[in-house]
């Protein structure tokens, strides 16, 4: 039988431990939103919303959905040191993949719009998913634009990247672009004017 004293001890222990455990399990830090031209809406995995206007340091967690409405732009930095910019009218979910052999890989799922990213650490990879393909890169500057649910444009500005659709993988070198269309292989990399492609992100950078 549980004595009142034991019960109180158990209750006190529960109050101390449970909220911390639950919080840790559900809210894994993933990065920080640092600048928003316009309003960046961050939707937590439980549906709670928070916003960043202008410069700041809003914590981003695994599972968060970042939404940039209208013509605004926003800059975040992941805890792995990857800079990510969202263009206007964009929606991106912050995800990851865990592998026993490699640890955690940061994954960004673009649901709408366009993002730019700069990955500076050889040990860290970034993957940007869209409904028709995924761009994987490390030590690179990349841009991914979801034209529609059926079309994606992947561009590598510096470094190299690997753009995969369900039907093929295309190796992209600096200054090249590949298109992904639903039900088709990615198009062979073609030279592009990267300054034009990523020009939208430049005003955000420190």
């Amino acid at each position: 039988m549980t004595t009142p004293r034991t019960g109180a001890t158990v209750l006190a222990f529960s109050l101390l431990v449970l909220p911390v455990s639950a919080g840790f399990a559900q809210s894994v830090p993933a990065g920080t939103a640092k600048n928003a031209v316009g309003v960046l809406v961050v939707v937590r995995s439980d549906g709670v919303e928070t916003r960043l206007r202008g410069r700041g340091a809003l914590r981003i967690f695994e599972g968060d959905v970042l939404r940039m409405d209208g013509k605004g732009k926003a800059l975040i930095e992941t805890d792995e040191g990857v800079q990510v910019a969202l263009n206007g009218d964009s929606v991106v979910q912050i995800l990851s993949r865990w592998e026993k052999a490699r640890g955690v890989t940061r994954v960004l799922r673009v649901q709408r719009g366009e993002i730019w990213a700069r990955i500076g650490d050889e040990r860290r990879a970034l993957e940007i998913e869209t409904p028709v393909g995924v761009l994987a890169a490390r030590v690179a500057e990349v841009n991914v634009r979801l034209v529609s649910d059926n079309e994606t444009v992947a561009t590598v500005v510096t470094g190299t990247g690997e753009f995969s659709t369900p039907f093929a993988t295309c190796e992209l070198r600096a200054g090249t672009t590949s298109f992904g269309h639903r039900s088709k292989a990615c198009t062979p990399p073609a030279a592009t004017d990267v300054a034009t492609v990523v020009g939208w992100s430049r005003p955000l950078l420190p």
Partner: protein, 334 residues
């Protein structure tokens, strides 16, 4: 760019198994072929684990932590070397190394990841995400999600045709089965079925079988015509289907009917779909799978938390094995 080691490891396993199969066809049969251990894997939704059982001795070999929550569906590679498990709560897929008996990767696929199936070439796995009304496509060699297909509202079942040309996705919200062309990734047809269509199973003759959990019947789709060619009322809350033989009789379809606590035995010929037998089992039978010979059925019960073994020769339960809490799905190595 280097590919992830785990993905490369899985790809190597697949490549090795393919090449070994090729060798086996070119060399003489061994005089004493090795008997591989047949294993049974059970997804325990409320224990977040997978129970591994030796199909012959029925000994529990391991209980694998899925490193996720609400483990629901399973797909086993043809060579049995790795197992994929969906997890409803986090929307993630657990990748399990069946040699090491441990989870070696966790991939986010989509909200409420429900069912998973390998494509016939095992280069990809498709995962149906109920809350996103789509199917995610996982590249097995890199473990990357390389695409997403909108298939219908509330996808809950997934199976590929025998030739791999079509994927069938049951959609609870639409009361349909979407037929997806695996070459164009287009939904080429939506086949009306009943209420709450759930798991789909490829039958022994290449037809696709499914249960309507809400309208208490099963249906059979012919990939040749992409139409329902037969249906049959089985009772409240039918869940899953497996196929086996009773001596010379068969193939037979075995349907778990959760509301009756029974497995119903039907003729598996859609032209002669009729009740042959009823087998009393445990509380709320759900997952069912047959051994490769079709002589044993393994049934899991989500309320009595056990696996029961049916001998198809006698249609009797011959053993019971306790598993984790709320077991949903069972698969058997081939």
């Amino acid at each position: 760019m280097k590919r992830p080691r785990l993905g490369a490891f899985l790809a190597a396993i697949l490549a090795a198994s393919t090449s070994l199969a090729g060798c086996a066809q070119q060399t003489a049969l061994p005089s004493h072929p090795a008997v591989a251990q047949t294993r049974v894997y059970v997804a325990n939704e409320s224990s977040n684990s997978v129970t591994v059982i030796d199909a012959e001795s029925l000994k529990i070999l391991a209980t694998i932590d899925a490193k996720n929550h609400a483990t629901h569906d399973l797909a086993l590679s043809r060579d049995g070397r790795f197992l994929l498990a969906t997890n409803l709560a986090p929307g993630r897929l657990s990748v399990i190394d069946t040699t090491a008996m441990e989870t070696v990767a966790s991939v986010f696929t989509g909200s409420r990841a429900h069912v998973v199936a390998f494509t016939n070439d095992e280069r990809q796995a498709w995962i149906a995400n109920i809350a996103e009304d789509n199917v995610s496509i996982l590249d097995i060699s890199t473990l990357r999600i390389v695409g997403t297909l909108p298939t219908g509202k509330g996808p809950t079942g997934l199976a590929f045709s025998r030739d791999g040309r079509y994927a069938y996705v049951s959609n609870q919200g639409d009361k349909t089965v979407a037929v997806v062309d695996t070459v164009t990734h287009a939904v080429v047809k939506r086949i009306p079925v009943g209420t709450n269509p759930h798991f789909l199973t490829l039958g022994p003759d290449g037809r696709v079988w499914g249960c309507n959990t809400g309208s208490n019947d099963i249906y059979v789709i012919d990939p040749g015509t992409q139409q329902v060619v037969a249906s049959f009322q089985v009772g409240p809350s039918p869940q899953q289907i497996a196929f086996g033989f009773k001596g010379l009789l068969g193939p037979l379809a075995y349907v778990t009917v959760a509301g009756f606590n029974k497995v119903l035995v039907l003729d598996a010929d859609p032209k002669r779909l009729r009740l042959i037998d009823e087998i009393e089992v445990g509380d709320a039978p759900n997952g069912i799978a047959a051994n490769p010979q079709g002589t044993r059925l393994f049934v899991v019960h989500e309320r009595s938390n056990d696996l029961r073994v049916i001998d198809t020769g006698t249609n009797r339960v011959i053993a019971a094995v306790p598993v984790g809490m709320k077991p949903i799905r069972v698969v058997v190595s081939k």
